[in-house]
Amino acid sequence: MEKNALSFRDVSAGYKHRKVLDHVSFTVREGEFVSLIGPNGCGKSTLLKTAAALLKPLSGVVELFDQDVHLLKPARRASLLGVVPQKIESPMAFTVSQIVMNGRISSIGRWGTLSPRDHDLVERSMIYTDVLGLRERYYTELSGGEQQRVALAMVLAQDPDMIMLDESISHLDINHRQEVLQILMNLNREKRMTILLVSHDLTLSASISDRFLLMNSGRLIKAGTPVEVLEPQLLSTVYNCDLRVQQDPYTGYMQVSGAIDSLHRQKKLNRNVHVIAGGGSGIELYRRLLIEGYELTTGVLNRLDSDAEAARALNIAVALEQPFSPVGAEAIAQALKMIDSADTVILTPVPFGSGNLVNLDLARAALKKGKTVLLANDIADRDYTDGKAAVQLVSSLLNDGALGWQSMPELMLQLQQHSYNRYQ
């Protein structure tokens, strides 16, 4: 019967002023090879720290081989679970063999002695990870990849039943990456070692993992087989970009790749986009459009608005109005001129009040001039005008041919299609 290696039961965890994990529940079975994936900052490292009892959960229980991890003695915990962190730094000049020896620290005798078994474990894990030849070298002098193999050797010397690796294979060259993965797979198969691998290489993880855990903003979004989790729609939303997933016809493995096509490769698209934003709602869009190579203008914005500051920093032409003032005729004329030379006008999810309602008139003008107009959805949530004027204006714009957009990947796709149609 298979036991549970690691269970999170409704665990919330984090730091003093910042909750990171939000009611996470999952189970890794003994002998499983599981990959933990998700965008930067989604809480993967915090999850590992919580699993290893470095962080105490704010609520919920973490169990390691069916025992509450916070009740385990440190030495016992280390014999169950080893952690290979992203990077280990040694400020002092320890040699590789001194570093690997640290893996046995929890079984060291009172007089600082190690048993022959300890020495065997150290030697064996150095052979396994191909660092025996480096043992007299200073750890700090090694390359990043060599350091990671030494770190793995040190954790293997712990002889744990489960290993968690925090993006620890990302710095390895292709030869040693294959090798380390082979080592992990062998440990997994032959010794039934449970492995939890934090990974950014989805394709690679898909080829070696039994199961995936997908995280986003501190929550566990989905758990399942690679085929179940690697869904283009799901991944595109979580990673906030356009991703393709294909099944390799020969191996059956899933392959995930970013959708970079010829349009993206042109440096200058010679496509002009005018963005109507405000209150910080435009910053992410500015960033994306600039990366994709669009020519940008924006406005009308009030001076000191965070979007206006961002636009100035990014060298985007802005139609400006004085701070905290209703938009005047001069600024409107300037914005209309910008719209004239734009192909597309995009409205961000900016809140509307009486002061900036005139920006919707700009959108109306753009539509009349035959421009493509893309409006952020859910205007009702952001309408603070009397009598819901913005909602009415938007719905009449949509009636007259403006398009709605929901998410950033979807918007980018719409923009591309328009460029494509226009220039074919």
Partner: protein, 345 residues
């Protein structure tokens, strides 16, 4: 394995050669220590050479030199070993008893008890008061540094608050001295300059017991100090009670530094630079480093004291002046050449 045999052979002989080299180095170190200690027994304001043991003044000179040697060994060993531990625990080459405010706190406690009383009670109470005030100071430093962090202060905030608390302590000492009686002022200033004048034998015995206990405790802790060198998190993952090791290590190091201060006053330089040099010569493995640094620190202070009482005899130079003036350039040369073996610059 056949293919790799020759490779393994090479590595074995390589590491054997290295081991031989390090054993030779330790042998030379011990030889130098014996030589230097013997030499320092020959130096003194009464002249260079073995005093006439037949005469009563000669044997008195000899026993005085010997008890100064013991004072120097104890103080130097305690300061140097405590520096090793502070540097290992905080993973920072700047860490030492003075920087963390431990010496300042011990000094303040000692000043108070020197000014408050006299006699045997003070001389026996001195190490205890110094230790208690040093621990209190360390707790204050730790408390200040922990503000705003999630329980574990960074090394930088520890050192910063240590420097601040340390300078507050020395301001208070100066204030106390300036308002004290002439006699009290003389006693405190003489003590603050640092000197290996033998204290009462009761205080010597108590201090010897405290220092031996502290050194033993640190040596037992030393493999765990090695594991902490990779950081608190990694040590935790490896099954170490990292916070406990940190606290126990800090307490032992504070005990050593405070006892040294109560014994010989504020002698700088030994706790910072001797650990660095020893680490540069013998490597960072704390199991070897703790005893070697204790021996090296003790001998260094004994030799400095011999020079201090001989160079301008009958005037005695404060030993702290000699440690910095004579030791500084010598150690700088060694560090220049071998820093890579100790720290990553």
């Amino acid at each position: 394995m056949g293919m790799n045999d020759s490779q393994f052979c090479d590595e074995n002989s390589f590491s054997a050669k290295n081991r031989l080299k390090s054993e030779l180095r330790i042998f030379l170190f011990f030889a130098a220590i014996i030589l230097l200690l013997a030499l320092s027994m020959l130096l003194g304001p009464s002249g260079i050479g073995i005093p006439d043991m037949e005469s009563s003044s000669g044997s008195a000179i000899f026993s005085l030199r010997f008890s100064r040697l013991l004072m120097g060994m104890m103080t130097g060993a305690a300061l140097s070993a405590s520096g090793v531990v502070f540097q290992a625990l905080l993973r920072n080459p700047l860490a030492e008893p003075y920087v963390l405010g431990v010496s300042g706190g011990a000094g303040l406690g000692a000043t108070l008890s020197i000014l408050a009383g006299s006699g045997l009670f003070v001389s026996l109470g001195l190490p205890v008061v110094a230790f208690i005030s040093a621990v209190l100071t360390l707790m204050i430093v730790y408390g200040i540094a922990s503000q705003g962090s999630s329980g574990h202060p960074s090394v930088y905030s520890l050192i910063l608050s240590g420097v601040i608390v340390s300078s507050i302590c020395s301001s208070v000492i100066m204030f106390l001295v300036s308002t004290a009686s002439v006699e009290g002022m003389h006693n405190v200033i003489w003590w603050m300059l640092g000197s290996l004048q033998p204290v009462s034998s009761a205080q010597q015995q108590l201090s010897a017991a405290l220092i031996l206990g502290g050194l033993g405790g640190i040596w037992l802790l030393s493999p765990r100090l090695n594991a902490l060198a990779l950081g608190r998190e990694m040590a935790h993952y490896q099954g170490l009670h990292a916070d406990l090791v940190l606290v126990v290590g800090l307490l032992f190091a504070t005990l050593l530094a405070a006892t040294a201060v109560s014994l010989s006053g504020m002698i700088g330089f030994v706790g910072l630079i001797v650990p660095h040099v020893m680490r540069a010569v013998f490597g960072p493995d704390n199991r070897k480093l703790v005893p070697l640094a204790a021996l090296g620190g003790g001998t260094f202070l004994v030799v400095c004291d011999a020079l201090a009482r001989t160079l301008l005899a009958p005037i005695e130079i404060p030993v702290g002046v000699v440690t910095a003036l004579a030791g500084g350039p010598f150690f700088l040369i060694i560090l220049q050449r071998r820093m890579k073996q100790a720290w990553i610059a």
